[in-house]
């Protein structure tokens, strides 16, 4: 090539921030900061709960049921005389792990279905999406009840139930993203190289859809914590004697006349967790919007 025709273009390399720097830079967004702080708080509680708590989780410490808050029991005791404060702190462990686990599972299922359905189109898409519609047509709680009733209440089954109920909505989101992305010219270029469908789906399309999927997943983890608590409230969640926030609220409800403060801490815990996830998701999508 004639170099005199036009000099080779060269530009000073722009320093690209690494992942950690980018994550750290997020602290400037107040919404992200607040949401992340709440979540980090609960994660720390979950990790160190056994060494913080004053009593054993199933220790009937004072022998007194439904005690009002006191120095020994800052948030009172429950129907078996167990320390509520202790049980909420220990209960954080499952609430930090289970929603994240079930939504991760849902994201894997939903994303795969959505990718396939959106990229293939035609009757494949039509059939898959109608099945998803059918699943989504059930009220969520009803769906949980059906699944739990069918497979029984256990930690694993709660995770499966939430994942199955969440996946269709995720598959819809992903399908919508794919419908837009698959018409981009870089996908046409990949097809012209004869790339296998799996490469196109997971290497060309998915990386461009990952941001909205992640934000959506965060919101859904918030909802999932809520759902798992709701299942616990109905007595279909993680079976006793595990400390379950939803179950604790449910039990405390019966004792409202004796100790009105009993449901306070577990309810606050559930709310703060859901709010934390929502704030983080809102903040992240805000950051992504402005970064564009």
């Amino acid at each position: 090539m004639d170099q005199s025709l036009e000099p080779v273009l060269s530009q000073p390399v722009i320093q690209k921030k690494n992942l950690w720097q980018r994550v750290f830079a997020l602290r400037r967004n107040l919404t992200v900061l607040l949401g992340a702080s709440i979540l980090i708080f609960w994660v720390i509680i979950a990790i160190f709960a056994p060494s913080i708590v004053p009593y054993g989780i199933n220790e009937m410490a004072s022998g007194q049921v439904w005690k009002s808050p006191s120095v020994e029991h800052p948030f009172g005791t429950d129907n078996l005389g167990r320390d509520i404060f202790t049980r909420v702190l220990i209960g954080a462990r499952q609430m930090v792990v289970l929603p994240a686990l079930s939504v991760s599972l849902a994201v894997i299922i939903g994303t795969s279905i959505g990718l396939l359905s959106g990229y293939r189109g035609g009757w494949v898409d039509e059939i898959i999406m109608r099945v998803m519609d059918a699943v989504m047509a059930f009220p969520v709680l009803m769906l949980y009840l059906m699944i739990i009733a069918a497979v029984g209440a256990s930690v694993v089954n709660v995770v499966i139930a939430v994942a199955v109920a969440t996946a269709p909505a995720i598959s819809r989101l992903v399908r919508g993203l794919v419908l837009d992305l698959r018409s981009r010219e870089f996908v046409a270029a990949a097809r012209m190289r004869g790339e296998p469908t799996s490469y196109i789906l997971f290497r060309e399309i998915l990386p461009n859809a990952i941001n909205p999927i992640m934000v959506d997943a965060l919101v859904r983890i918030g909802y999932a914590s809520f759902s798992i608590s709701a299942l616990g409230f109905l007595g279909l969640g993680v079976p006793p004697p595990n400390p379950d926030w939803g179950g604790m609220v449910s039990e405390a409800r019966n004792a409202l006349i004796i100790t009105p403060t009993a449901p306070l801490l577990p309810a606050l815990a559930i709310a703060s967790l859901v709010i934390g996830f929502n704030l983080l998701a809102d903040g992240l999508s805000e950051v992504m919007r402005t970064e564009r």
Binding site: L5, L9, S10, Q11, E185, A188, M192
Partner: protein
């Protein structure tokens, strides 16, 4: 007399997370009544920001200072009430996209009468009379009928005429036009420009005309200001700018546009190296210095002032006296490819009777079957190895569909595509790996043709691996070689597309297409979304690569001069059919198909003294779902000879040298008719 618009030392800064972008710097200009002032520059030069600042429509993160006076009134200090009174009434604006300027749920009459009602009090009949009068002035056929229509029922050209009518309805003193014809086809653009040219003479208003197209500016403006990186770098009466450009950037812009008649066999296109600097980090001294051939240390030391170079002519360059002396011709160093070295007339690509119909969806009940849309309707062409076939036509003529069909991205309805002996009329999934390698494509939109999540080296390594071009250990070298062949260097390897400009992205896309050593590269409007100064460079590059790597090109574009420059053969397409096909030189000299003739005369020429060829097409491209009978072109043909055009498909007339014209008019007659016009040009 006070000028209609007087801008003094306007500065506009945008505040963003990346810093302060200085979109307009120290801009001063005045426009007298009855004068049309053209503001020219590439994208991101601050042209539109000037328009928004005048209208006081700047977004919140923008901050401006300086003075903007309209008929002596200071617009910057004007209260909202006064601005409301001025806008639409005394100052009007026409934007590029008519579709977003019109409200889709209101009739044309309603939208136009609202403009009158907002500023003046008239009876309904009086306002209707004025609207009809204005619609006639913008040459709207059957204004009465148009009044009751909704915007989506009108074509783009008609919509833009409505927007212009709306702007002129109250006879404003100043009209700002921000690229009003950029989104339109050349044939439609020519018509709109005719109207604007007449109206500006008739109404004696001041116009600020913003455009990147020097041809359009030459056509319509009295004075011109050239903007670069937010600054006015040259200002002069229109004739002076074209005759004595005094800034290297102006000169570059003028020379970048392929002139009529220029061919790759004669010379390479002039191009401006580099790119517009980011407005957040402008260089010291002259902003153009990094791209300027005349640059020396004095240029980067101090910021040049706008110096007066002649009467009414000023330029922001310390070398203004020597600018015009720059050598104009750029030649390739390789031996010019002669037209005759293809003695092995073995065709690489044979296309016969190609038809692509799109099925329309059945209506809700599935009772009435709608006709198929005949996007490509019986197209034949051949392409010898290493040659270039240019395909031109207005939008909606099926050009891009032909590209997609060759690439296998759109299914063929019927017809034969034979490519170096194998059948290519099948979808991409059933082509062999060899077939895939032989035919690659460069897409129109650089933003979507590269995966935003892949680095440049990932993007380029993929075809190398798929087609096993080089062993793994030589991959990196080959990628760097590819980058160099498109005039980029290895600092690009680890960048993502978002860190590249449009022109750089398109270079990478070209490198990707050539990476697998294909025999044919299909280019679908590869330069139409790029800035003028970049277009020439990319075109040169494409051509150099083609000759180095011995590749054939199918080059699809709507710009006749570009197609003429790069092609050995040209096919002119109208409504899915070829009107004329043959060697480039033959196509562009009489006899030509009347459609080709009209396309040629519609191109705005970057020379204010050019005689305007009077051929104008009326109306729009008809819908391919219901094409006209006989010759598809008869509804718009300025040379229609009679009923035969409506009833019979035109025969292929051989004009020698494989030049075919599909027209009922005998060739000799066409030649006589067209030579007459040519002489006048």
């Amino acid at each position: 007399m006070t000028p209609v618009l007087d801008i003094q030392n306007l500065n506009v800064n945008y505040h963003s997370s990346r810093g302060i972008a200085r979109a307009v710097r120290d801009l001063s200009l005045t426009i007298e009544g009855g004068e049309t002032y053209g503001l020219v520059g590439e994208s991101g030069c601050g042209k539109s920001t000037v328009a928004l600042s005048i209208m006081r429509y700047l977004p919140r993160q923008a901050q401006d200072s300086g003075g903007i006076r309209f008929q002596g009134r200071d617009l910057m200090q004007a209260p909202a009430e006064e601005l409301r009174h001025l806008r639409g009434n005394r100052i009007a604006i026409v934007y590029q996209d008519p579709q977003s300027s019109l409200n889709p749920v209101l009739t044309i009459e309603r939208q136009l009468s609202e403009v009158i009602a907002a500023h003046e009090e008239h009876s309904a009949s009086e306002s209707r009379r004025r609207i009809l009068d204005m619609l006639e002035r913008v040459r709207m056929p059957d204004p009465q009928y148009i009044l009751g229509r909704y915007p989506h029922q009108l074509s783009g050209g008609m919509q833009q005429r409505i927007v212009i009518a709306m702007a002129l309805l109250l006879r404003p003193d100043l009209v700002i036009m921000d690229e009003p014809t950029t989104g339109l086809d050349v044939t439609i653009e020519a018509g709109v420009l005719d109207i604007l040219d007449d109206l500006r003479r008739e109404f004696k208003m001041a116009i600020l005309y913003i455009s990147h197209n020097l041809g359009v500016i030459a056509r319509i403006c009295d004075r011109v200001g050239i903007m670069y990186a937010g600054e006015l770098i040259e200002q002069a009466p229109v004739n002076d700018i074209f005759a004595h450009p005094s800034h290297p950037y102006t000169l570059g812009l003028l020379r970048c546009v392929p002139r009529q008649g220029l061919r790759y066999t004669n010379e390479a296109l002039y191009s401006i190296p580099g790119r517009v600097p980011p407005l957040t980090a402008l260089p010291q001294g002259c902003a153009f210095a990094p791209r300027c051939v005349l640059a020396e240390s004095a240029c980067t030391a101090a910021h040049p002032r706008l110096e007066s170079t002649a009467q009414d002519h000023s330029a922001r360059c310390i070398h203004w006296e020597t600018v015009v002396e720059q050598p104009e011709r750029v030649t390739f160093t390789r031996p010019l490819s002669s037209q005759t070295d293809q003695n092995s007339e073995k065709n690489l690509l044979n296309v016969r009777g190609l038809k692509v119909y799109f099925m329309q969806a059945l209506d809700v009940l599935g009772i009435r079957k709608r006709p198929n849309i005949k996007v490509v309707d019986g197209v034949d062409f051949d392409l010898p190895a290493q040659r270039t076939l240019g395909v031109v036509g207005e939008s909606g003529c099926g050009k891009s569909t032909i590209a997609k069909v060759l690439a296998g991205l759109t299914p063929v309805t019927s017809g034969k595509i034979e490519f170096s002996g194998s059948d290519f009329a099948k979808p991409i999934e059933s082509r062999s790996s060899d077939s895939l390698q032989q035919l690659q494509m460069v897409f129109q939109n650089p933003d979507s043709s590269l995966n935003p999540r892949h680095t440049i080296s990932q993007t380029l390594s993929r075809p190398l691996r798929r087609f096993k071009i080089v062993p793994q250990d030589q991959e990196n070298e080959t990628i760097i070689g590819l980058l160099r062949s498109v005039n980029l260097d290895e600092s690009y390897l680890d960048r993502y597309p978002s860190q590249l400009s449009g022109g750089e992205k398109q270079r990478v896309a070209i490198a990707r297409a050539f990476a697998g050593n294909p025999e044919l590269v299909v280019c679908d409007e590869p330069i139409s979304s790029l800035d003028v100064s970049v277009q020439a460079a990319v075109l040169n590059l494409l051509h150099e690569l083609q000759h180095q790597r011995k590749v054939a090109l199918v080059f699809i574009a709507h710009d006749l001069n570009v197609v003429r420059y790069i092609s050995d053969e040209v096919a002119v397409i109208y409504l899915g059919r070829i009107c004329e096909i043959g060697p480039t030189d033959r196509i562009f000299s009489p006899p030509s198909h009347p459609y080709t003739e009209a396309l040629m005369s519609a191109i705005p020429v970057a020379d204010p003294n050019a005689q305007i060829n009077p051929i104008r097409l009326s109306g729009n491209v008809p819908s391919p779902a219901n094409p006209p009978t006989g010759c598809h072109f008869h509804t718009r043909c300025p040379r229609k000879i009679g009923a035969i055009c409506e009833t019979h498909e035109p025969p292929a007339q051989e004009a020698g040298d494989n030049h075919k014209i599909f027209c009922h008019i005998p060739l000799d007659e066409l030649r006589v008719l067209q030579t007459d016009v040519m002489v006048k040009m």
